[in-house]
């Protein structure tokens, strides 16, 4: 009986977290786990803070991940990693893109974008792996591949054979973008 594991994918509406959760869902289902993936649709997609929960194990009940429960938080944007930090388990791992996207209160000058977030998150005891996914994605051929760079980095921590990831990618990534995404995955994995 394996314990249920929890992954959260967080970011800003429109950043492409859907493909990441699709890939992860496929990978885990193929590996024989029970899987639940919970998404957000509708209004908050309009540039708001968005979160996807992925849970897997022998039998998964709740579709949600609650505070203090996440084994992994995968973040497309730095502030979002900090926002969802309370959801991380004590010994959980954060994998975050260092890209910063100003939210409206920062744009209007009502609030400041906090500085040194990576350091501050580390000071709480969280394990933080912060990488420049945008540069790596561009290196792979498209700024849109940030999601796959992050998945590549996650594979570094996941106990799952390389072939399983490759197979899942072939199943969910459109053929014409497959090579580019495989490159993005490699760059993320070996950064």
């Amino acid at each position: 009986m394996s314990e249920t594991k929890n992954v959260m994918i967080v970011g800003v509406g429109g950043q492409g977290s859907l493909l990441a959760s699709k890939l992860l869902g496929r990978l885990l289902l193929d590996a024989g786990y029970d899987v639940k993936v919970s998404e957000v649709h509708g209004m908050s997609q309009r540039g708001g803070s968005v979160v996807t929960y992925v849970r897997y194990g022998d039998k998964v009940y709740s579709p949600l991940v609650d505070e203090g429960e996440a084994d992994y938080i995968i973040s497309f944007e730095l502030l979002e990693a900090a926002r969802w930090l309370p959801y991380l388990k004590k010994d959980g791992q954060i994998v975050t893109n260092i890209q910063q996207i100003d939210p409206m209160p920062v744009i209007t000058g009502a609030m400041e974008y906090p500085t040194d977030l990576v350091e501050k998150m580390k000071q709480t005891g969280a394990k933080v792996d912060a990488i420049d996914c945008l540069s790596l994605a561009q290196q792979a051929g498209s700024a849109k591949a940030v999601n796959i760079v992050l998945m590549g980095r996650l594979s570094h921590y996941f106990d799952m054979p390389e072939e399983a990831w490759q197979k899942a990618m072939e199943a969910v990534v459109p053929a014409k973008f497959l090579e580019m995404n495989k490159k993005a995955f490699e760059l993320g994995k070996n950064v």
Partner: protein, 591 residues
């Protein structure tokens, strides 16, 4: 074959497998994907109707014609369709009718948090409630069988967490029942008093028979505790839908669970027997205490809303906190969570860069207009810095309310008040309000925000776009001709990217002493066919840092080192900011 499917996608699969042949719906989060996914099956005729009432009546017609039909909507959509629903309960069906209503506890994308089970009870229509994707699929097929056996429409109630979660399903083959011949049956289908009087006892008897079915059906099941509860007492929990998942997650096999797949009508004996087997009885249900009140009416002593909230969604931590004391005999103490000390700025949804609504709301705000708003992306016009909306009630309310606001305003409102309503919302419920303005003559100015799509729910076609749900050419309603035919002399079209023209149109129509319609027309910037301009850039030598461009709340513009800064990944070159700059600091990038 095992597949991961969204609840709504699995629901559509269930419709397909059960031989559904006709789907008519109106989009609404979190229900939209049931219909979108059904439209991917070529064997099913699918359409977007102008509103939920029309959709349900179309589904009724398809049932009369002998084919299994479906209509889907969000919780507030069922208010619109309540009229046909309450009387379809009397007429019953020819071929089966399944209705999806998706509630939104937590209000992720809704204007209220109503509990649709009240509609099922009041209309005396049976309601099933799946707890995951596989149940969404199997309940769809079961619902058609029940619909035909008991001569009733069946409602399947989804919620955000079931609709928008993917879980594992096993698919089956499609089976299409033979078409049921339509037979004229005036006593059954013509609901005038003399006939309806005879149908009402049928409805009451049907609900009694369904309640009997609820006592022994597979979808209402008891899962007995296999280990002793930590407090040594036998605890029984009655629950349904996503709440069931949280109960199992937190309490596992240490409690007995009565999992209800049918929430209207509710069983009596099954619940009483379950209560007898347990020392402590708890109902875990989101929103209103409907199962709990049913238990109380049976004379049972039960916990529920004395411990659990009426508002918002549940989660595993919420159950630990609210029920831990009772179930475990000790209060649950949550561990200290990790967090950084800095305040984290919120990230509310915003209008997209290049959104055509932005220029209009900026102009309305500048003119200090009172703006009666409606339901759609443009509700975000209420958010700072635009802050340009005064009311949001329900679909179509802007057009109806401005009439009352102007008539009762003793002449103070006409010159500064507008109603704003999107193209899809106008088709849904705005036309009747406009008819009232034309008929009862108020000097009201209605602005139709025509972005050529149903935006908020994720780009669905509607009667003004010229395309159907499959993307094929379809009928197209001409908004200008429609308004003119209602008797509006003053109907004009403006491009909201052109601030000067928009400002002039608003000023002139507000000044006019007669009803008027302004169509603010520009397709949604997210539509695939919309060609974007190159991003603008800021000449920092010219920029004086006056923040005039910040007044429109564009997510692509921020201030960096005292100068305006454009995020090139977001900017679509709409040019609205350029028109606000007093020194011409915005420049177009070279190819």
């Amino acid at each position: 074959m095992k597949k991961l499917m969204l609840g709504n996608q699995a629901f559509a699969r269930g419709l397909y497998e059960a031989g559904c042949l006709f789907v008519s719906s109106y989009p609404g989060t979190p229900s939209t994907e049931v219909t979108e996914e059904a439209a991917k099956y070529d064997e099913i005729y699918c359409e977007w109707a102008p509103n939920e009432k029309v959709a349900m009546e179309a589904a009724f017609g398809a049932s009369l014609a002998g084919r299994r039909s479906f209509c889907g909507m969000k919780h507030v959509g069922l208010n619109v369709a309540a009229d046909p629903l309450y009387t379809m309960s009397y007429t019953g069906v020819n071929a089966g009718i399944v209705i999806c209503v998706a509630d939104d506890a937590g209000m992720h994308s809704s204007q209220n948090e109503q509990d649709s089970r009240h509609h099922a009870i009041a209309s005396k229509v049976p309601m099933l409630e799946p707890a995951d994707s596989e149940e969404a699929r199997t309940f769809a097929a079961l619902a058609y069988d029940l619909s035909e056996e008991y001569d009733t429409p069946i409602i399947i109630k989804m919620c955000t967490r079931v609709a928008h979660s993917q879980s594992v399903v096993e698919t089956a083959e499609r089976k299409v029942p033979d078409r049921k011949a339509y037979e004229k049956n005036i006593p059954k289908y013509v609901m005038m008093p003399g006939n309806a009087i005879r149908r009402h006892p049928f409805v009451e008897d049907r609900m009694k028979r369904m309640a009997q079915w609820a006592e022994n059906c597979e979808i209402n099941r008891v899962e007995k505790a296999t280990v002793t509860s930590p407090n040594g007492r036998k605890v029984g929990i009655i629950t349904s839908s996503t709440s069931y998942q949280y109960v199992k997650e937190v309490f596992g096999n240490s409690v007995s669970v009565l999992k209800l797949g049918m929430v209207n009508p509710l069983p009596e004996k099954l619940i009483k027997d379950f209560a007898k087997d347990n020392e402590v009885l708890i109902v875990v249900e989101e929103l209103d205490p409907i199962i709990e009140n049913h238990c109380k009416s049976l004379g049972l002593s039960v916990h529920g809303k004395d411990l659990l909230p009426m508002c918002g969604e549940f989660s595993q931590n919420l159950l630990r906190k609210c029920l831990g004391g009772l179930v475990w005999g000790r209060e649950h103490t949550a561990d200290q969570v990790l967090s950084v000390d800095d305040p984290i700025p919120g990230r509310p949804p915003v209008m997209c860069a290049g959104c055509p609504h932005r220029g209009l709301f900026y102009t309305l705000n500048k003119n200090k207009c009172t703006v009666l708003g409606d339901i759609g992306c443009y509700t975000l016009g209420a958010v700072a810095p635009l802050s340009a909306i005064d009311t949001t009630l329900c679909m179509g309310a802007s057009v109806s309310a401005i009439h009352g606001f102007n008539k009762a305003g003793e002449g103070e409102n006409e010159g500064k008040t507008v109603a704003v309503i999107g193209d899809s919302t106008f088709m849904h419920s705005g036309m009747t309000g406009l008819a009232n303005i034309a008929y009862n003559q108020s000097d009201s100015t209605v602005i139709i925000l025509d972005n050529s799509i149903t935006g908020m729910t994720g780009h669905q076609q509607n009667p003004t776009t010229g395309y159907n749900i499959k993307g094929d050419p379809a009928g197209k309603i001409d908004l200008e001709a429609l308004c003119k035919s209602m008797g509006f002399e003053r109907v004009r079209v403006v491009d909201p990217y052109d601030l000067k023209a928009t400002d002039a149109a608003i000023k002139e129509e507000l000044a006019a002493k007669e009803p008027s319609v302004i169509i603010s027309r520009r397709p949604c910037a997210l539509l695939k066919y919309v060609k974007h301009n190159k991003p603008v850039c800021v000449n920092t030598d010219k920029c004086i840092g006056c923040k005039s461009c910040m007044k429109i709340g564009c997510p692509a513009i921020s201030m960096k080192d005292g100068k305006a800064h454009i995020d090139e990944t977001l900017c679509v070159g709409c040019g609205v900011c350029e028109q606000l700059c007093p020194v011409g600091a915005f420049e177009h990038t070279e190819e």
